[in-house]
């Protein structure tokens, strides 16, 4: 079937991204917005726009009823959930199905199987994908945790099964710490995710966060589009991503890519997805989690492969086979992305919402800016603090870094604090330039 009208169930830069892809495909777009987002760029760009609720996300961007109301009354063929909000909500995907509206993403079953982190690990183990040594499923009580701890070896990481995106994680350096933290972790998980289930994993060190982008159609074809190195993180939130990963050799890339494809096949996946792995200095890699949605950092993969992932997601949702095979995917050049947030790096990254005055994003060959900001736009304190994603492409890593530095220096944002100065310093740091940093980089080094 041909999708002719899409409702974008999201806001900010990703909503703009999706509207752009739809425009190019000749698909009509319907935007939804909360009251404070009335003047947002995605609202202005869409063909139609409807207010779906007040500020709180639960009453607007997470409001199934209002969103489905708009979708059905405006006769949309499909809904693109973007990332966050309802993107990995299996119930929402199911409701779309029952209203005969295509959910641009995987099936509710695939979302469920990968959304529950403990279940996902088990599924991966059965699919022959290497997993981090740890508990076999959820941990019951403190005694069980202590027994497991002795088996696994310290330090140990306690993870919420319903968590994800870096949330719901605690580290126990020894048995005493484990005993203290396990009950607290369970209670926290219940409160934050509505699910008290936690599992244990060996806390590995010197690891890089390397993820593989896959895309699958509804005919059983799965292709991987190479990796992204997302090790530069602050409090488990990614700040810089790059493709390819500077330490990956072709055979490890192939092994990881194949593991990712096996994982997708194991859950009958369709659409875009990302397999997150931890890569050790010895070249050993371990499955961490699978994100059953398009990710924030998808542009770096687009830059090195030439594939428009959003368009491909829509094509796959329509029922078309993938428009390329694994052999067609060639990684070309180097891409880096900096997430520019409205935060003050001098004050411990304190959020800095407010009205943007003068605003001038950089340009030039190999420079891409994905943003919903504009002069006079107010970054509200109610949602995430992202101003823009600055992405560069160049033939080599060295040139990409030089280009990113040049682009950051041109990026003018007045009226609010941004993390641009932080990124500029980061790109001068010898450890970053060397390429051999791990996920503790920002914890261990002063920028």
């Amino acid at each position: 079937m041909n999708i002719q009208k899409v409702l974008i169930a999201n806001r900010g830069e990703i909503a703009v991204r999706i509207i752009r892809a739809c425009r190019e495909l000749g698909i009509s777009t319907v935007a939804v917005y909360s009251e404070p987002d009335r003047d947002s760029l995605h609202v202005r760009l869409a063909d139609e726009a409807y207010c779906i609720g007040p500020m709180p996300s639960k009453d607007s961007y997470l409001n199934f009823t209002n969103i489905m109301s708009v979708a059905t009354l405006t006769e949309c063929d499909a809904i693109h959930p973007g990332y966050g909000f309802l993107a990995e909500n299996a119930d929402f995907a199911e409701i779309c199905e029952s209203c005969n509206i295509i959910f641009i993403g995987p099936s509710p079953d695939a979302i469920n199987r990968m959304g529950d982190k403990a279940v996902a690990k088990e599924t991966m183990k059965l699919a022959g994908v290497p997993i981090i040594p740890g508990s076999d499923g959820l941990v019951g009580d403190v005694e069980e945790a202590v027994m497991l701890g002795r088996d696994i070896g310290y330090p140990i990481i306690i993870k919420a099964t319903a968590g994800g995106g870096g949330k719901g994680i605690r580290i126990a350096e020894d048995e005493e710490s484990l005993v203290k933290q396990i009950t607290a972790a369970q209670q926290e998980a219940q409160k934050a995710f509505g699910n008290a289930g936690v599992y244990l994993e060996k806390y590995l060190t010197g690891m890089k966060h390397v993820e593989i982008q896959i895309i699958a159609d509804k005919h059983g074809n799965v292709v991987h589009l190479g990796e992204r190195d997302c090790s530069v993180q602050r409090r488990r939130q990614k700040l810089i991503e790059e493709a390819p990963c500077s330490v990956l050799t072709p055979d490890i890339r192939e092994a990881m890519g194949n593991a990712a494809v096996r994982a997708a096949l194991a859950v009958n996946y369709s659409g875009a997805g990302t397999l997150e792995f931890l890569l050790g200095p010895d070249g050993q890699f371990y499955f961490m989690e699978m994100n059953t949605r398009i990710q924030v950092e998808h542009p770096v993969t687009e830059m090195v492969t030439g594939v428009d992932l959003i368009k491909e997601m829509i094509s796959v949702a329509e029922g078309n086979p993938l428009s390329f095979t694994q052999e067609d995917i060639v990684i070309n050049g180097w891409s880096i992305e900096c997430r520019i947030n409205a935060e003050d790096p001098e004050r411990n990254f304190m959020p800095s919402p407010g009205k943007i005055g003068f605003y001038l994003p950089p340009g030039g060959l190999g420079v891409r800016v994905d943003s919903a900001a504009y002069p006079g736009y107010t970054i509200s304190p109610f949602y995430d603090s992202m101003i823009a994603k600055l992405i560069v492409w160049a033939p080599t890593r060295q040139e990409a870094i030089a280009k990113m530095k040049r682009a950051l220096a041109e990026f003018a944002v007045e009226g609010i604090h941004t993390t641009i100065p932080f990124h500029q310093k980061l790109l001068e740091h010898p450890v970053f330039l060397d390429g051999n940093f791990d996920i503790k980089f920002l914890e261990e080094y002063e920028i």
Partner: protein, 169 residues
């Protein structure tokens, strides 16, 4: 006097945009009003895109000849929507608490819940908003007199969209 080519251009522009549904121009003693149909069966231009259209506009002060063109979408300003000349600041707006379809009556055969001029109490049902096959009755939540009905029967209404203007008691 509007030239035919100018009118055609205006119609074309109006057709291409989904955010403007009514256009009224006065020039040299002539008034031209262009209004898009908003029945759901119309091809995609039917749905109201923004809340701007819900606000009542004041009628022209003196009578003038309205230039009519034989194009299906042109019509005069519907008299039912013209409000009384009451200062907006004193009026209470009843707004939609959800996204759905506005119905002025319990069913097509029944009379409207309220009309302009009716007095309402806090618990008076003023309309039904249908969302996902569920009918939600909306109560006035204020005592007063209905001054204006801002939504049309069968129209898609969004969260916060003004539906009625009430002169509070």
């Amino acid at each position: 006097m509007f030239k035919l080519s100018e009118i055609k251009e205006l119609i074309k522009l109006l057709d291409q945009t989904s955010s403007v549904h009514e256009l009224e121009i006065e020039s040299e003693g002539m008034k031209l009003a262009i209004r898009k149909p908003d029945r759901p069966e119309a091809d995609g231009t039917a749905v109201q895109a923004t809340p701007y259209n819900a606000y009542p506009f004041t009628p022209a002060p003196q009578p003038q000849s309205v230039q009519q063109v034989s194009y299906p979408v042109i019509s005069e300003v519907p008299p039912a929507q013209q409000p009384q000349a009451v200062a907006e600041g004193k009026l209470h707006k009843i707004v939609s608490p959800m996204v759905g379809t506005f119905y002025s009556a319990a069913s097509p055969e029944m009379p409207s819940f309220v009309n302009v001029g009716d007095r309402v109490g806090e618990k008076t049902t003023v309309c039904i908003i249908e969302a996902m096959k569920l009918m939600n009755e909306l109560e006035a939540e204020i005592k007063g007199e209905i001054v204006s009905v801002l939504a049309e029967n069968g129209q898609l209404v969004e969260y916060g969209q003004p539906l009625f203007l009430v002169k509070p008691e």
